[in-house]
């Protein structure tokens, strides 16, 4: 990532240059959708949250003092926006999701079980896993968006995956039956 061009983009956008904001939008849109998905567990809502995130960012951009922290700032707007959506939908969507995750033990749906394992993680770890596998972000991209060092991203991804593997194993899901399922 060219840091100078990013701070220049932010500065230009702060001064009303819409095309610069457009570049930032295209650069971070997917990351924000993934981040919101890690909170909401729903792709459509995550997309709504990402759209709303950019609308808020657009309106509050002049309050951003540290232009080199744009990605981290955007990510915090996105988390808050997603949490607000989750709160307002808690009685419906989020509740449904909780119910789904409880029911998976009965249904033993493979995807649901994996999602359940992911959603059992701490929010900070879940963010990383979702960003890594939702849209295939590299560790460097995740590091840039979440503003944490690449080595920290790597370490936390390893730990999070270990937790997921442990959870899946405890629930009877292993490499063997993953392979079996895949062939069906």
């Amino acid at each position: 990532m060219n840091l100078n061009s990013e701070t220049e983009l932010v500065e230009a956008a702060q001064n009303g240059h819409l095309e610069s904001f457009g570049v930032l939008y295209e650069r971070y849109h997917s990351a924000m959708v993934a981040l919101a998905y890690s909170v909401l567990g729903d792709k459509e809502l995550a997309d709504d949250a990402a759209q709303e995130t950019f609308a808020i960012a657009c309106q509050k951009l002049d309050s951003l003092k540290h232009r080199d922290k744009f990605a981290g700032w955007l990510a915090s707007i996105c988390r808050n926006t997603a949490r607000n959506i989750l709160r307002s939908k808690r009685k419906t969507e989020a509740g449904d999701f909780q119910e789904r995750t409880e029911n998976t033990k009965m249904r033993e749906g493979r995807r649901d079980l994996i999602r359940e394992a992911v959603w059992k993680l701490r929010p900070a770890d879940r963010e990383l896993i979702v960003m890594r596998y939702y849209d295939g972000f590299s560790q460097a991209q995740i590091s840039s968006v979440l503003d944490i060092s690449p080595s920290a991203v790597n370490g936390r991804l390893v730990r999070a995956k270990r937790k997921i593997a442990k959870y899946l194993k405890r629930n009877g899901f292993t490499e063997v039956n993953h392979g079996t399922d895949s062939k069906q």
Partner: protein
């Protein structure tokens, strides 16, 4: 040392379960959907320096000529020789508070010593808290223990009685720092998040926050943060006068075993029975709470409508002033807004071994499967409530759970009497 998790099957399974088809961002569409945001941004054109509004050359600068490459290499060598940080080290004076909270959110384990200097009576209290892998335990200075597993919070008083059980604030997205600060250090507070250190020292940074507007108890909050780790070391929340709550963060304390975070088995309630919504008062026998014989309960006023239509006179009791009822109703409305419905009203009164009746606690708003600490008697209604003039304060926590029959619920009450000898 980290063990590598390099399971191809797990990678495939994760991609399959949470992977998404690539969606191309469509800025044109976004612009059409958010005209107000666009207008707000473009209206700033011309306010800033001219240089910033010029079209930008976007993309990597590629060093094509040999001379350029040599010049760049020379610059790097000079920078290294003179000990300069080429990309620029963190400008600690400009580190926003949001960075500290982000770092803290990534911590797996922290042990906190809590010192309460309060409140003008030379009182010093000590507590401890542990926050590990999403679970929290707080040992209060009064002997109470709070267990929070990230979904539910359970509060046990000094005698081990479960007095509060309700959804965790962490389930609602609050951070641990927000919890410690009584809600002040909110992740949603933009001003706080942007704030930079008020003091930069050799090894640490100090962030100082003004009290929130309208606060009548909280004064300045001062937080010392490690300069390299960007983790809080100490948080001092000044309250009125010179009293304060001090939190010391210990990241090196040995981790407690997982059993430590499991709440004790809750002993059965002192009384339990069925109540019918808007039905007759039910008298339940109390066991295991010396001094108390029976309790009388009544359930009514179920509300499950929109929060904005929550009745302003939900709590309306003749023996209380209209202002008091209004304020209690408003508090119930705010809770309803957060938790949703249904909400019920529950009347509770107690009968002692001597046959004395306590006043009725008739402004309780209760939610299903939650318990809250309540009191009636000496503190709730005054000493005069008891014919023999003795001090008796009844602490109790009612909870309500549904049955498979409409309008029939199980009410469960844990209670005890506090006397002067306590």
């Amino acid at each position: 040392m980290e063990q590598t998790v390099n399971n191809k099957w797990l990678e495939e399974a994760l991609t399959e379960a949470i992977g998404s088809e690539e969606q191309k961002p469509d800025f044109e569409k976004w612009k059409q959907q958010h005209p107000e945001a666009v207008e707000m941004l473009t209206s700033r054109a011309g306010e800033g320096p001219l240089m910033s509004t010029r079209p930008l050359k976007i993309g990597r600068t590629i060093m094509k000529s040999r001379m350029c490459k040599l010049s760049a290499a020379a610059m790097i060598i000079i920078a290294v020789l003179f000990g300069l940080k080429f990309i620029g080290g963190p400008d600690v004076a400009n580190i926003a508070w949001a960075e500290v909270t982000n770092r803290f959110a990534q911590i797996d384990y922290v042990h906190i010593y809590i010192i309460v200097k309060s409140r003008g009576d030379d009182f010093f209290g000590h507590g401890e808290a542990w926050h590990a892998h999403g679970k929290t335990i707080v040992h209060g200075n009064d002997g109470s223990v709070t267990y929070d597993d990230g979904r539910m919070v359970q509060y046990f008083d000094k005698r081990g009685m479960l007095t509060v059980r309700r959804p965790s604030i962490f389930a609602d997205g609050q951070s641990f720092l927000e919890y410690l600060s009584g809600g002040f250090l909110s992740d949603e507070n933009w001003q706080l998040k942007e704030q930079t250190p008020t003091r930069v020292c050799e090894d640490f940074l100090i962030y100082t926050f003004d009290p929130p507007p309208g606060s009548n108890w909280l004064d300045t909050t001062s937080i010392t943060v490690g300069r390299n780790s960007l983790l809080p070391i100490q948080m001092k929340i000044y309250v009125e006068d010179e009293d304060y709550d001090l939190f010391i963060f210990d990241y090196e304390a040995p981790e407690k075993p997982s059993e430590f975070f499991i709440p004790p088995t809750v002993v059965s309630a002192n009384c339990e029975g069925e109540v019918v919504l808007d039905g007759e008062e039910v008298v339940l026998n109390i066991s295991g709470a010396p001094g108390l014989k029976e309790t009388a309960v009544r359930l009514y006023d179920r509300y499950d409508g929109p929060a904005e239509e929550f009745p302003s006179d939900y709590i309306s009791v003749e023996r209380h002033s209209p202002d008091f009822c209004k304020s209690v109703s408003e508090k119930a409305r705010r809770q309803y807004e957060k938790k949703g419905g249904p909400v019920f009203r529950l009347d509770v009164s107690f009968i002692t071994d001597e046959g004395y009746h306590s006043t009725t606690l008739d402004f309780l708003a209760v939610w299903l499967n939650e318990a809250n600490q309540c009191g009636v008697g000496a503190l709730g209604g005054g000493l005069d409530d008891w014919p023999d003039g003795k001090y008796r304060n009844i602490r109790f926590s009612p909870s309500l759970r549904p049955t498979d029959r409409e309008d029939t619920y199980i009410v469960e009450i844990r209670c005890r009497v506090e006397t002067k000898s306590d």
